[in-house]
């Protein structure tokens, strides 16, 4: 049976722990400016990358897609989630062109946008990446999840494939 003193000490400890956690999360939340990516928020992108990432967003031009870029840089590894979206009446042509950027076999994805494929998109063994290319109506999107570390403890090949599917569902869902 715990004494009153022990209970009091335990509740004080819990209170201290709560306050510390609240301050930590509040500060870390404030450290990031609002991110304008319309298709995925920074917290979600960070979850997909596996560590806190910093995002940026570039508006589209008539010829260039809108781009969201989320980067987590460490001393030995850089992890990136990059999303591009371009609305075009020539979406089939663009889809075919984007599909050619795959370095591995393209696999059709079920229930992502109107249509989508997933593939590897490694860059000469310097960047290890998985890519999804798809469309929602006439909006063509690409999603690339990459790491610079071959045997990344967070983004190994299985995780790259799994997590990019989550990203694809988020992005395509917001494009509908």
């Amino acid at each position: 049976m715990a004494s009153n003193f022990e209970l009091l000490a335990a509740s004080r400890a819990a209170l201290r722990l709560t306050l510390m956690a609240v301050m930590f999360v509040a500060l870390s939340a404030r450290a990031h400016a609002a991110n304008n990516c319309p298709w995925i928020n920074e917290a979600t992108a960070s979850g997909i990358i596996g560590a806190e990432a910093v995002g940026s967003y570039t508006d589209p031009t008539p010829s260039q897609p809108a781009v969201c870029n989320f980067v987590q840089s460490g001393p030995s590894v850089t992890r990136t989630l990059r999303i591009t979206v371009l609305q075009t009446p020539h979406f089939q042509d663009l889809l075919q062109a984007e599909n050619k950027t795959c370095t591995g076999t393209a696999t059709p994805m079920v229930a992502i946008g109107n249509e989508a494929i997933a593939c590897s998109a490694d860059d000469r063994r310097k960047v290890f990446a998985e890519r999804v290319v798809g469309r929602v109506r006439d909006q063509v999107f690409t999603i690339t999840l990459s790491t610079t570390q071959k045997d990344d403890s967070i983004l190994n090949r299985f995780e790259l494939k799994t997590r990019i599917a989550t990203a694809a569902e988020q992005v395509s869902g917001n494009l509908f």
């Binding site: 301050m23 928020n41 917290a43 960070s46 979850g47 560590a51 989550t166 569902e169």
Partner: protein
């Protein structure tokens, strides 16, 4: 003793690091989305105890271990929740004020502030021991309630709307993505990792964490507790995921935590299967969206309404949509090898079609076809220039000749659905009657309700849909519900009722052989133009399901009676359904004639006389109505349905004592009869018996919180009784819920520019390709 205690603590806590690690990973990362067919590891070993065995007694050491776990779990949850709120609140859009975090939704949570997504044990965690439930749920609508394009397209419009935005989407997401709402994710600069819940929509621990139902107002009117999968010996909830050992040792405590009685009640389903568009969403006023719950309550299956045309055994929503069936995956929640369905089979074919959930799709189609839900009856024909109704078809002799112009009567009975056809979002779901006439070579003579090559439905089809319109009279084609100001057309078949659909065609002059008439009720999820809005026009054709059909062959020349089809209703019921349909189309004389045919076939059936009586009340022929109702009561003095209509007639005759007696009798036997409560309240009100009137209207409001008569009369009664605040509240609700006087103008603006729907909006209309402008060949032409 000490050794045993330590061992027990280790045994219970042995799972701690494992669970903790799994949870941390989930919190940091995007949870992998297993496909519906992905295999799950075998569940932990478990041997159920005999059914009548008492719960296991814990040793003091085990109790202490559980208490320690609980203390830690509570602290951990409190810390996580406080941290989450500190992170989310600063950027949260408090559009509706700091005390209305989730408005326009009605959802509430236990405790203050948001609940962190990590508080909700994942479906995969539950699925470890409930693999059958998990597998079914993954394919079901509830798990896909948020992520589907069919939902996202419309909610995204609201989110992108410049004068509204994501805060308004809390209205929709309270039911479609409750964790998103109560975690505070629905704000412009969201700090919440959405990958942790978006894909799971209504996960296990959203429904199984509901602690109470606030009302039957819908729009997610529930209180969600901090999720717990087990309670301690005192019945106190232990938040978060616990080691499976703890649950398997005390399944009764697991059950106490997650299997609340409310889960079995139709009111639980009402929380989301009843929806309205409040002023906080549309900046206009309350508009009823749908209410499958009230439709059920008014149906024969609820046994709460004495006025239904037919009777049935009591059946809840769960009784139809969560039927128990044999399991094919391990599930410790199964009883005798069966589990209540977590597929919630209903009418949604689009979601399993899109996701490739073939099993769910096939079971959905089977469900739609298997339930004897609808009866289609090609009931009669009538030759133009001849008033004689040849009916019931198959039971009488008649002649047909080439060049005859024929009107076919198709009666569609909503026979065994516990709600209307279609119950929800009639602007998107599409059911319709397809009617064909073919010659003996299969050549088409007439066809209504066809699909055009572009997938659009024949605009003159008889459809069970609606047309919500904006204040400009434009059809709200994209489910932008916040722009709805009126409903120009709303066609449905309420539970237990029937509709008559008439088709006119001419038999070719050169006909040889017989003609074949086929009537089908088709169903499509979703309407083609909405699918086009979602995907563009280049999408695959979505499934069309034939729910029910009937074919009859009519010979040219003489036709003799024939044996009925086994699926046909008996003749008296065929006439009865025609009578009901004609009543609803305001054809009172013909309706009385049809019900009179029922009397001929079943002279001792009291309801036949009651049906004549109630039709004559609508027709304002009170004397003959009185005769019919008295006849019904002479056959069965306790017939409660006839007693209700007798009450109305006694009022008409000024016999207040008998009127009160009748309504009191109905209320006594059917305390949840909204009609009887309303009428008894009116009677008391007219007699200046304020207290008694108040009692009835308050009871009525508990049954139907939106009843306008209750709002109106309560506002007056409260004022008379010196309760001005309550009076004002009722008055406000009356004004808010009463249909806008301008609504007909919006509807007419639409109907003026859509003659095909304008015709359909008239209850008594005929479908014909002979003279479409005039709505068919008129009698006497």
């Amino acid at each position: 003793m000490k050794k045993t205690q330590t061992a027990t603590i280790l045994m219970v806590c042995g799972m701690l690091p494992l669970i903790g690690a799994a949870r941390d990973k989930t919190q940091q990362s995007a949870a992998p989305q297993p496909s519906a067919n992905s295999s799950i590891s075998p569940p932990p070993a478990y041997t159920p105890r005999p059914k009548d065995a008492p719960p296991l007694e814990d040793t003091p050491a085990q109790r202490e271990a559980i208490a320690a776990w609980k203390l830690k779990a509570v602290q951990k949850n409190d810390v996580a929740r406080a941290a989450h709120n500190a992170a989310v609140a600063p950027a949260y859009n408090f559009h509706y004020g700091k005390n209305n975090l989730f408005t326009p939704g009605n959802i509430k949570v236990q405790g203050a502030g948001f609940i962190q997504p990590g508080a909700f044990p994942t479906a995969e965690y539950c699925g470890t021991c409930h693999q059958e439930a998990y597998t079914q749920w993954r394919q079901a609508l509830h798990s896909n309630a948020f992520r589907t394009p069919f939902y996202r397209t419309s909610v995204n419009i609201l989110i992108r709307d410049k004068t509204r935005g994501i805060a308004f989407a809390r209205h929709c997401d309270s039911c479609h993505n409750p964790i998103g709402v109560i975690s505070g994710a629905l704000t412009e600069d969201s700090k919440v990792d959405r990958a942790r819940f978006d894909s799971d929509g209504l996960t296990c621990t959203t429904c199984h964490s509901v602690l109470s139902l606030d009302s039957t107002n819908g729009n997610a009117s529930v209180q969600v507790g901090v999720p717990a999968v087990i309670v301690d010996e005192k019945g106190e909830r232990i938040p978060g995921m616990v080691p499976f050992d703890m649950i398997l040792r005390h399944p009764e405590r697991h059950s106490q935590a997650v299997m609340h009685d409310l889960l079995h009640k139709p009111e639980f389903c009402a929380a989301c299967h009843k929806a309205n568009l409040p002023a906080t969403l549309n900046d206009y006023k309350f508009i009823r969206a749908f209410t499958a719950y009230d439709e059920w309550q008014q149906s024969k299956f609820s046994q709460r309404n004495p006025l239904t045309f037919y009777t049935a055994d009591f059946t809840t929503c769960q009784g139809c949509h969560m039927k128990r069936s044999a399991i094919t995956h391990p599930d410790y929640g199964a009883k005798d090898g069966t589990l209540v369905s977590h597929r919630w089979l209903a009418g949604n074919t689009a979601v399993p079609f899109y996701y490739g959930f073939d099993e769910q799709l096939s079971k959905t189609i089977d469900f739609l076809r298997a339930g004897n839900y609808l009866n289609v009856d090609i009931f009669a024909i009538k030759k133009v220039n001849d008033d004689k109704l040849i009916a019931p078809l198959g039971r009488v002799s008649y002649n047909l000749a080439p060049s005859d112009t024929v009107e076919a009567y198709v009666v569609v009975q909503n026979k065994n659905i516990g709600h209307s056809l279609i119950p929800e979002v009639r602007d998107l779901y599409e059911a319709w009657t397809e009617f064909t006439v073919k010659d003996s070579s299969g050549n088409e003579i007439y066809h209504s309700g066809f699909l055009k090559p572009d997938g659009m439905l024949d605009p003159r089809a008889h459809s069970f849909t609606n047309r919500p319109v904006t204040d400009e009279g434009e059809f709200v084609d994209n489910h932008e519900v916040f722009t709805i100001h009126s409903v120009a057309y709303d066609n449905t078949v309420p539970a237990g009722r029937s509709v008559l659909v008439r088709y006119q065609f001419r038999i070719p002059a050169n006909i040889t052989g017989a003609i074949t008439l086929t009537a089908r009720i088709n169903y499509r999820h979703l309407r083609q133009s909405y699918l086009n809005n979602i995907f563009g026009k280049d999408h695959p054709a979505y499934p069309v399901v034939e729910i029910a059909s009937r074919t009859r062959t009519l010979k040219i020349g003489e036709n003799q009676p024939e044996d009925p089809d086994p699926a046909d209703n008996p003749d008296w019921m065929r006439w009865n359904n025609l009578g009901i349909a004609l009543l609803d189309q305001f054809q009172y004389q013909e309706s009385v004639q049809a019900f009179t045919e029922v009397i001929k076939l079943r002279p001792t059936y009291p309801d036949a006389y009651t049906n004549v009586g109630l039709t004559e009340i609508s027709w304002e022929k009170y004397d003959s109505a009185r005769t019919a109702i008295r006849h019904a009561l002479s056959l069965d003095p306790n017939n409660i349905r006839a007693t209700y209509y007798d009450g109305l007639l006694q009022r008409r005759a000024g016999n207040t004592e008998q009127e009160i007696g009748d309504f009191r009798k109905v209320v006594g036997m059917f305390p949840e009869s909204r009609d009887a409560r309303r009428e008894l309240g009116i009677t008391y009100y007219q007699q200046h018996e304020n207290e008694k009137a108040l009692e009835q209207f308050e009871a009525l409001q508990k049954i139907d919180p939106d009843d306008l008569t209750a709002h109106y009369n309560l506002s007056i009664l409260y004022r008379r009784m010196g309760r001005p605040e309550e009076a004002a509240k009722q008055q406000d609700m009356f004004i808010d819920k009463k249909v806008d006087d301008g609504a007909p103008t919006y509807s007419l603006n639409y109907l003026r520019t859509h003659p095909e729907i304008s015709t359909e909006s008239i209850p008594w209309h005929v479908h014909s390709d002979l003279d479409e402008g005039a709505g068919g060949v008129e009698h006497g032409k």
